[in-house]
Structure formats: C-alpha cells, structure tokens
Symmetry: C2
Subunit: 200 residues, 2 copies
C-alpha cells in the first residue's frame, strides 16, 4: 500500500521536477500548502498552467515572451549601436540586464550545442541568428556563453558564422572575479587572467 | 517596466509561496520548467489544482485524506490495542509510521494551540478527540507533540482532557538523540535525559 493517498503522492511526485527539490522537500512543500495555504497552492497551479501554455519565444531573440517581440527587441533605441549579445539562457540575459551596462540587443540560445544529446544548430535557432546578421545592421556580436566545454564549442561555432558574414565578433573577458582571492582561483582562470592583462 | 513578462512574473511570485523558495530559486524553477519541462510544469499545475480541491481530512483522525476515513482509521487491526498517538502534523505521523514500531491509531492536530494566532482547541479538532475518548475503547493516549512551547502547552491541554475522561496518558521520551554527542547536546535535553534515566 502506498504511504500517501493517490492525489497527495501525485502532487509530491510532480513537485520533484522542480530543480533542487528532493523527496523530503517535496513532501514538506505539499504538506505546507495543504495545511496553511490552499489558496496559494491553487493560485500556483493556475499560474503554472497559464505560463506553460502561453509563454512562447521572441521571434527575433528567442527569449521567453508572451507576444511576438520581447520588450527589448521592440525598443528601437536598443538597436541603435547594432550590437548583439549572445547568451545561453534567459537567466543569463537577466543577469546582464541587471548590470545596466549593456544597451544593445540579445540573442538567447536557450541551450548549448551538444551533439550527444541531439542538440544541433537548428535547435539553438542559429538559422534565425544567421538571418539577423545578414539582414539587420549588426556591427558587433558579443559572445557571453558559459565558460564550459559546451559554451566554448557553441561560441566557436557562432564565431565561425560571424566570420563568414564578416561581422566583428568578441567575447566577454575571462579572468579573476571581483572580490575573489588569487589563492583560491583555479589555474586555467589565472592563465586567462594573465594572457588577457590590460595596461594599468 | 517590470523585468519579466506578466505571466512569467506571476509564476515566479506564485512559486515563492513554497517553503524555502526565495526570489532566485523561484526564477530558476520557472526558467527550468519553461526551458526543459513544459509538460512536467503543466502536470504539476494539474496535480496542484486537484490536490488543493480534493484532499480533505479524515473524519476520525484529521490526517490528509481523499475519502471519509484514512487507510489507518479504516483498518480494524490498528484499533485492537486501543492506543491513540497524538501528533502535530501529517509529516510527524509519516515519520512515526516509517519506524514501523507503532501499531495503533493516530490523531493529527494539524497545528498547535496558539492563542495569539487565534488557534484554539476547536481549530485542532480537540472536540473530535474528546468524542473519540468518550465513545471508543481508548486504553492509552500517547502524546508525540513537538518539544516546543506550543507543543508542550498543547500536550498539557490534552493530558487534562484525558484525566477528565480517565484515559491513561503518556508522552514519548525526551533525551539524547541516537548518534548524537553529549558535548553538543543542550542543557535542557541533558537534564531531561537524566531525569528520564532507565535501569540498564
């Protein structure tokens, strides 16, 4: 006999798809909602259903969006300098937006090239990016992909694309993070920091 | 302008009602579902709606249940020895069930007495418990409430109820936890452990 009633077990199993939620947390979440916040639980259910069904992708930059164009792509002032920043996910885009430093447009890959998982250039919308490079007045493409194997491979692929279409391509600097201690920075980062040194 | 589109912001806000989920985790959960598991997200939405609407309380022990009686109350073998264990929440009941040691029935308070928050005996179903004591053949009531101020106050109140109805009442032992180190056990627990010592 299952320890929980069917609906409760279904809820606990369903909660486990959330990142970082194991069986114990899922049970705690389910009990917390049932005991103290049924209204909030129903509201969360409705918000999930609405979001999963209605949030799509911006036709130009592929970020999450409920209309055809996201508010950045729809803003002509963001296209003025013709710079496009390529990021791996909407969360990365959000992190860059929060710095308030970057005033151009984005292209959100929503993943990285990973042939073993069957994720190719089409899945990342690189055909859309290629079209953008050809049709719009793009002066520079900044690569802000993750400094991982997949992120690097994807960056090389996109750099290749830019070279073919004669668009200037750059990559955000790799080096020691602000506030970090040299002693605890790994060797590869440290060598990147040396080779990327700037006049002081 | 809000940083997220309305539905996305609604989803992130709604996720924050889950215990232990702050703004960063909520954003990570929302993006993870949208990027990789929309089907799972919709399934979670449906599971939440079904659970919030359809999970009620067992009429006899107040645990979460989809029918009138939970599977423990519906099982006559659990009533044989006439012992009822009083716990604060369904999660506590689950923890005791997992030990496999207790073969009697439960009564789940779903909270503790807390006059400041307006939680009185009625809210904990103590009238139902009182009825059970009067009508059913209860030989012993075991108090397994949390060793906190609220848990203690509730335990005293229920013990009073049992004394009035001449039902034997006991409380689970307080002492040092198995695997713990004496050095790090607090003073109150240690004095409970001394006063509750048993012949070896």
């Amino acid at each position: 006999m299952s320890r929980h009633t069917p609906l409760l077990q279904q809820l606990i199993d369903a909660l486990r798809i959330l990142p970082g939620v194991g069986p114990k947390s899922a049970q705690r979440m389910a009990f917390s909602l049932l005991e103290r916040n049924r209204e909030g639980g129903a509201h969360l259910g409705a918000a999930l259903n609405a979001a999963m069904a209605k949030i799509g992708h911006c036709q130009q930059c592929r970020t999450f969006c409920e209309s055809d164009l996201c508010h950045i792509c729809a803003d002509p002032s963001r296209a003025q300098d013709g710079i496009i920043c390529v990021v791996g996910s909407a969360a990365d885009q959000m992190a860059i937006e929060q710095t308030g430093q970057f005033k151009g447009r984005y292209f959100v890959l929503q993943g990285y090239l990973s042939p073993l998982d069957g994720i190719g250039p089409q899945d990342l919308g690189l055909d859309i990016l290629s079209n953008t490079l050809a049709k719009h007045n793009v002066t520079e493409l900044i690569l802000a992909t993750n400094p991982t194997v997949e992120g690097d491979a994807t960056a090389f692929y996109i750099a290749e694309l830019c070279n073919k279409q004669q668009v200037k391509v750059s990559r955000i600097a790799q080096g020691i993070p602000v506030g970090g201690e040299l002693e605890f920075v790994d060797g590869t980062t440290l060598s990147h920091a040396f080779s990327g040194r700037k006049a002081f």
